[in-house]
């Protein structure tokens, strides 16, 4: 393999039902920086059925080129059909870097493509950079255990690939005056050859809306002690109209369902106000909440890393502070006669 045959930074533009996923736009923002450093074009690649109208959006968000594979068989995401499309593009145009959003489909696709291209893939990246001299992608992710990040490199194989957590990178402001090149590739696919069929897609936004779109989140950690004390988290959230979240420990202890887990293996959230109560601030948790606008941390341990990301920190016993906080809010509600919510 001649590594110099591979040039360019590519972003998988995930679309569902003709709508581009937020993480793909974020990756165009992150990819723009990498491409500029490496002095190569940034390309988005897009697969689906009747998706041509989306190309301009990809350019507006920072791409120099858009590769498109438009075919009725690509209407819904399926590993087998989508990976054929990606293999076709990657083998023909040989990008040096491909980034995917770490969504169910993005991870599924990237894992399959990495196997067929016989190349390296880094999962759930939260930091991206390039070593320009060696043209190496530096994909960093929290390592298991401890507050430590690992930078994963792929030195001898191309393309270098990574999936990237949603809501960690920042999208650029769209610039509709940007110009770019649109390249259409045709593919031959037969529905009869497909071994899987998508019979139905059921959107269930209720579970999701809870955390991902919440303005205020009250999140509790193992420091709450037990399930009974954890009810204080629910009570505070109820009082101020917030959603409840928990750390991995809390979910593993069975105090909350997995949908409410915030962190590396749960949801990434960016609310206006985030209460971190009884949470030490392990990096797996922090990557899932650090972009919240206003973070309030309550913890006994003055050296807990959560205080490093907190806008306001209270060193104290949550079992003492939280009931007082609830009482104050309730009193305020009674006095003024109304419900508390985000301004």
């Amino acid at each position: 393999m001649n590594l110099d045959d591979f040039r360019g930074v590519w972003i998988f533009i995930e679309q569902n039902d003709g709508k581009i996923e937020g993480v793909s736009l974020e990756l165009l923002g992150a990819g723009r920086k990498l491409a500029d450093k490496l002095q190569v074009p940034l390309s988005g690649f897009l697969l689906g059925s009747e998706i041509k109208s989306l190309a301009n959006q990809v350019i507006a968000y920072g791409a120099d080129q858009v590769y498109m594979v438009d075919h009725p068989v690509l209407k819904n995401y399926r590993t087998e059909s989508y990976m054929k499309g990606v293999m076709l593009l990657a083998e023909k145009y040989k990008p040096e870097i491909i980034l995917y959003g770490a969504t169910p489909n993005g991870k599924d696709l990237a894992s399959a493509v990495a196997t067929d291209l016989n190349t390296g893939l880094t999962a759930d990246t939260t930091m991206l950079d390039v070593d320009v001299d060696n043209r190496l992608l530096e994909a960093s992710r929290p390592a298991f255990g401890g507050n430590i990040m690992a930078t994963i490199l792929c030195k001898k194989h191309r393309p270098q690939m990574a999936t990237v957590r949603p809501k960690v990178m920042k999208a650029l402001e769209p610039d509709t005056s940007r110009l770019g090149k649109i390249i259409e590739e045709s593919i031959s696919l037969q529905e009869e050859d497909m071994r899987t069929k998508v019979l139905r897609i059921v959107n269930d936004v209720t579970k999701k809306a809870n955390l991902a779109d919440a303005h205020v989140i009250v999140c509790g950690g193992k420091g709450m002690g037990d399930l009974q004390n954890f009810q204080l988290i629910h009570e505070l959230a109820d009082t101020i109209g917030a959603s409840v979240g928990g750390t991995r420990d809390v979910v593993e202890a069975g105090w909350l369902p997995h949908e409410q887990q915030v962190g590396q293996t749960g949801e990434t959230v960016t609310p206006k106000i985030y209460f971190a109560i009884g949470i030490s601030g392990a990096i797996q948790h922090v990557v899932g909440m650090k972009n919240s606008e206003f973070i309030i941390a309550i913890n006994k341990d003055p050296n807990a890393p959560i205080f490093d990301v907190a806008t306001y920190g209270i060193v104290g016993d949550a079992m003492e502070i939280v009931p007082k906080l609830i009482e104050q809010f309730k009193q305020l509600r009674t006095e003024k006669g109304g419900e508390i919510s985000y301004a």
Partner: protein
């Protein structure tokens, strides 16, 4: 139906240490368990077997002590266990891991053709979720990831109906058999193991294969040599500057916080119901 479940032994605790010389996990520093997602994968195989009859095999890669997770799988209800264990497998990333496991699956399917492979969504020590789809590609069978329900197995038509979790909601997929599923925890509850399973597990000796027991293996694709990714460096992320500490007694702290939230920053407000 012959279902093969791929399982992994993982360290149980978050206080696992990192070897500063090699930048890899020091697996001796924590008790080892069956990866929780894989336990659900074995349980799902048991549920399917109850309806379709057949055989459940479990496959793992690891050091000799990884036989413990195979015994655990037998307890849950697996019939047979295979461990591939060899120094040549050591240091494998997800690409080299899926290669080695697919070679073992080739050997297993020679004795008894495989109808379905089930894996956990990911292992809790790596959190990648990349090995399952990798195995599926190497076996050239369709992968279906993030499965939350196996709704129907039709042995005559050789199809399976599956619910796959999406970012918001789920999709209903029909796949041909054989296929590979990776399962979420919510797919089932782990049941108490019946006594005969416990007795069987205690006495069970899994089949252990070295590289030389597998066929058509390209050694350059195994272990560290066959792994395109390496850990470049480990670092503590730059500590963001901490904000303001609210000092004083707990009453003072609470009232300062109330002031910030309700007045100074005007973050929360009361919507009068009057």
């Amino acid at each position: 139906m012959h279902i093969v479940v791929c399982v992994k032994q993982v360290p149980d605790t978050k206080i696992i240490k990192i070897n500063p010389k090699t930048n890899t996990l020091d697996r001796r520093s924590a008790p080892a368990i069956l990866n929780p997602y894989d336990a659900h994968a074995v349980q799902e195989a048991v549920k399917i077997k109850e309806k379709t009859d057949g055989t459940i095999s479990v496959l793992s890669m690891g050091p000799p002590q990884a036989t413990a997770v195979i015994k655990k799988s037998i307890e849950i209800g697996a019939d047979r266990g295979y461990l591939i264990s060899d120094r040549a497998f050591a240091g494998a990333d997800t690409l080299a891991t899926s290669y080695a496991l697919s070679k073992a699956l080739e050997r297993i399917s020679k004795d008894l053709p495989v109808d379905m492979v089930i894996c956990g969504k990911h292992a809790i020590d790596g959190d990648t979720g990349q090995v399952g789809p990798g195995i599926a590609r190497r076996m050239d069978i369709p992968p279906v990831t993030n499965v939350i329900e196996v709704s129907e197995v039709n042995q005559q038509e050789k199809t399976v109906l599956i619910k796959r979790k999406l970012t918001s909601g789920y999709e209903l997929i029909q796949s041909e058999l054989p296929c590979l599923l990776t399962v979420e925890k919510e797919i089932n509850d782990i049941e108490y193991s019946p006594m005969p399973n416990m007795i069987k597990a205690a006495r069970y000796e899994p089949v252990i294969w070295a590289v030389s027991d597998l066929e058509n293996v390209e050694r350059t694709q195994l272990g560290l040599k066959g792994s395109p990714t390496i850990v470049g460096k480990m670092f503590t992320p730059p500590r963001p500057e901490g904000g303001i500490r609210l000092e004083g007694s707990s009453d003072e702290q609470v009232s300062q916080l109330m002031e910030v939230l309700m007045e100074k920053k005007d973050l929360l407000t009361i919507q009068s119901s009057k």
